[in-house]
Amino acid sequence: MIPPDADTFLAGDPGRSVLLTIPSRMEMLAVVDGLVQAIVSQLNLDEDTAIAVATSVVEAGTNAIQHGHGHEEGRPVHFRFFLGDDALEVWVHDTGPGFNPDAVLAADPTGPEDIFKARGRGIFIMRSLMDAVEFELGTRAGTTVHLVKRLGPGNGSSAVAGT
């Protein structure tokens, strides 16, 4: 995902896309979470699904601010939410140096050696709570994490069902 300008917005399904841009300040994650809460409530998602999405989006935002932008607050982090019928998808984009996800994906922070480490859980959490977690690196400057939560029956009806 590239930074959210009007063209990007219109290129997707604009009637179902919500974009958010925040400064790289950790406390802005509470603002992101507020938006996610409103979106999942709008979609009538069940509580576990709502928690999974909110927790994962906050983790992706944490990494963007911390690893992507090194807490340089003037660097914007972009979120795009796609409210599909079958899935809620989120892209989190930073303009940082990127990284090689292979080593991270192989790690298991729940093992006896790693459980007492202070770090290294973010991507594991996203992968545990979401149906798909993909990293888009290299095509444009920066890192994009693409999160997918499939919406089954019981997870609200159509995303466009309205109020």
């Binding site: 950790m26 928690i51 909110a54 944490t62 729940t110 770090r119 859980r121 709570l129």
Partner: protein
């Protein structure tokens, strides 16, 4: 994150509200715990009832507290863990590290014994 502290039955009770997410939050908690440990306290209770969420950097704060207390033979408990916080603890298996209690009273009784 906002924090208030109180010592009850020899247990340092840290009541957190808002969101726990590293950075300045980590410093505030670490400082409170270091001070308690220096003064001989060994038992710490985090009351998370007013905490909306904790992210992975916030989990690091709780783990540091656990390690610092354990190294001195102390222990750390959690009270009033919401469903959202329970979920991140379960996924990371940190629910096997931290004892969780329904409320402060139950926690204080268990930690004091």
């Amino acid at each position: 994150m906002k924090m208030t502290r109180e010592t009850l039955d020899g247990v340092l009770v840290l009541r957190l509200s808002g969101q726990l997410m590293g950075g300045p939050d980590a410093d505030a908690v670490r400082e409170a715990i270091q001070e308690a440990l220096r003064q001989g306290g060994r038992k710490i209770l985090f009351d998370l009832g007013e905490l909306t969420w904790v992210n992975s950097t916030g989990l690091g704060i709780l783990i540091s507290a656990h390690i610092n207390a354990s190294n001195l033979g102390g222990k750390v408990g959690l009270a009033r863990v919401s469903r959202r916080i329970e979920s991140i603890l379960a996924v990371t298996r940190l629910d096997t590290v931290f004892q969780a209690f329904a409320d402060e009273e139950t926690a204080l009784r268990a930690l004091a014994s």
